[in-house]
């Protein structure tokens, strides 16, 4: 049985989760609880966006997932196998990027990848050359040739780290801020790479600050806030659960507000030339009729779906301070 099929068989017994954590907790020796009883469930085949403000515990969670940091409480499975006990079996099927790239500065990119491959006792040395070439090709680094890593630009370093995660065929990719430091072109390439890998059946868990990225590539999201997972669902569900608003543009905001309140809407806020309110269970069509009947001069009427960013802020709070 290959690594992937062993891992797959185990995964199906687990209700199809590529990553599953149970009350995973990390209290550092400083006493700080960086991750607090987190129950992650990353479905197989999903692209899972792991978001949260700076210092909310994303990287610490990822370190625990990969067995770099020992949880103080809780347990977790990757691809259905329990970690860290089965790390030797499951990690070959997992590609990872943890808190930015890190390589030997005085070795070239390919030499660094050869080094990582040499460490893997389950990798075939005979196929190392082609695999390294293919990984570099995938991230657009083929032309960097034998430049030493210390002379790489930030984006090249980031790409090399992604190439390292793709050194072998993987079943799960855990990427901590994969587009950090990339130019717009590189960001787009990484996004399309993630989409392509996902189509090939790879589960991708990526942590990011870019909500546009989540919107474009993710099927699921988990939101962290001061060490706790405060929301986790499919993107569609998350959107469905949020209140749609209405926005009426009018020269008589007071009159419009009165009509909306009369219709039973909550959260009515009149402003200069515009009134906003929560739609609630009401039909937008009926509201328009009511406004026109009351002879309110309506210039525009829109139903507003909150952007992911507004959702995110409503979940994690407005403050600019880091968590922790």
């Amino acid at each position: 049985m290959s690594v992937s099929s062993a891992v797959q068989a185990a995964g199906e017994a687990d209700g199809g989760c590529a990553v599953r954590t149970h009350r995973l907790t990390k209290r550092f020796r400083s006493g700080q609880v960086a991750v607090n009883a987190v129950d992650l469930a990353v479905p197989r085949g999903s692209v899972y966006g792991f978001v949260g403000p700076n210092g909310s515990g994303k990287t610490t969670t990822i370190r625990m997932l990969l067995g770099l940091v020992r949880p103080t409480a809780g347990r977790h499975e990757l691809l259905g196998l329990s970690m860290p006990r089965q790390a030797g079996r499951v990690l070959p099927a997992v590609g990872a990027l943890v808190e930015g790239p890190a390589f030997h500065p005085y070795l070239s990119g390919p030499a660094n990848l050869r080094r990582l491959d040499a460490v893997d006792r389950t990798a075939d040395p005979r196929s190392a050359g082609p695999r390294i070439g293919a990984a570099l090709e995938r991230v657009g680094l083929s032309s960097a040739g034998n430049k030493r890593y210390r002379n790489y630009s930030l984006g090249m370093r980031q790409r090399l780290a992604i190439a390292a995660a793709l050194l072998r065929p993987r079943d799960l990719l855990i990427l901590d801020e994969p587009t950090n430091g990339l130019d717009p072109q590189g960001t787009r390439e990484v996004r399309s790479l993630v989409t392509r890998l996902s189509q090939e059946g790879v589960t991708v868990m990526l942590s990011t600050h870019l909500l546009s990225e989540v919107e474009q590539v993710c099927t699921h999201v988990g939101v962290m806030r001061t060490g706790s997972l405060i929301a986790q669902s499919s993107l569609a569900q998350l959107r469905g659960s949020t209140a749609t608003g209405v926005r009426v543009e009018t020269s008589c905001p007071q009159a419009a507000a009165a009509v909306l309140i009369e219709c039973g809407l909550g959260g009515v806020v009149p402003g200069p030339g515009v009134v906003q309110a929560d739609l609630g269970p009401y039909e937008p069509e009926a509201l328009v009729v009511a406004l026109v009947r009351a002879e309110v001069p309506v210039r525009g009427f829109t139903c507003v779906q909150p952007t992911l960013e507004e959702l995110f802020v409503s979940l994690t709070g407005e403050g600019f301070d880091v968590d922790g």
Binding site: S4, R70, Y106, A118, R126
Partner: protein, 306 residues
Amino acid sequence: MSTADGATIVSGREGTDPRRGSARALRWGAGTALRADLRLFGSEFGLHLVRRRNWAGVGVLLSVPIILAVCVKVTSDGNTDGAGPGFLTAVTDNGLFVALAALTMELPLFLPLAMATICADTVAGEANTGTLRYLLVVPVHRTRLLIIKYLAVLVAFTGALLLLVVVGWAIGTALFGGGSLTTLSGEQISFWAGVGRLLLVCLYIDVCFAGLAAIGMFVSTLTEQPLAVVIATVAVATISQVLDTVPQLSSIHGYLPTHHWMAFADLFREPVALGSIRPGILSALAYAAIFLSAAWARFGDKDITC
């Protein structure tokens, strides 16, 4: 293909389906495991080899026999009394003694410094560049990584030591001639017997430094600062040598890690005096065992947060 111990090995997944493919799996056996370990060893050893800093260090080590031989040659009246365990006075007799005199001079500081520097690169150095986290998620078992790193350090040190001895012998022979030589106890031995003794000396120093290397590896697992490892390891060697000179502490002298190092000179007596060689070996092995275990215990469940 999985076997009794559940270990599996995959050799790429070339096949019709680009990703899953026909997983061409190798049967896991002692041969495959050994080959994988050798590959990792080669990679670790290679890291020591490609660092220019290490070659600069080798250059410093090699400069000592060269400077020594040249100085003795130009001040050739042979008045070199009172240095080392008698090798310096014999330098003009036979070129082989240049290598031994250089070893004597480098043993207190330069060789410990060289060992400390490469020990610092192993764990602390990789933690410092952040490469340690990527090694561990490859994955590699921490015990296996530690042992292979230790072996690579020993082999790299042995290489430097052999280079030092060969260069010392070569320049010594060029300037003072070779042939049969007189041992410290006065007997004549043949040239090849002398070379054999020199190799035994290297082996003995190597064993002694295996103890220091274990201390260095242990310190390396404690910190992310390579420089701290260098300082701590050299400090251990130096303090040990200082304490070794304090007569009031004679009761603990035998337990100091450096106490038996200079006993290598006994290998140049006829017959070879094993009186302090044997405890030297035992002491080094004990230090190696204790500090490797400590390094293993520390590294085994360390949180990698760098």
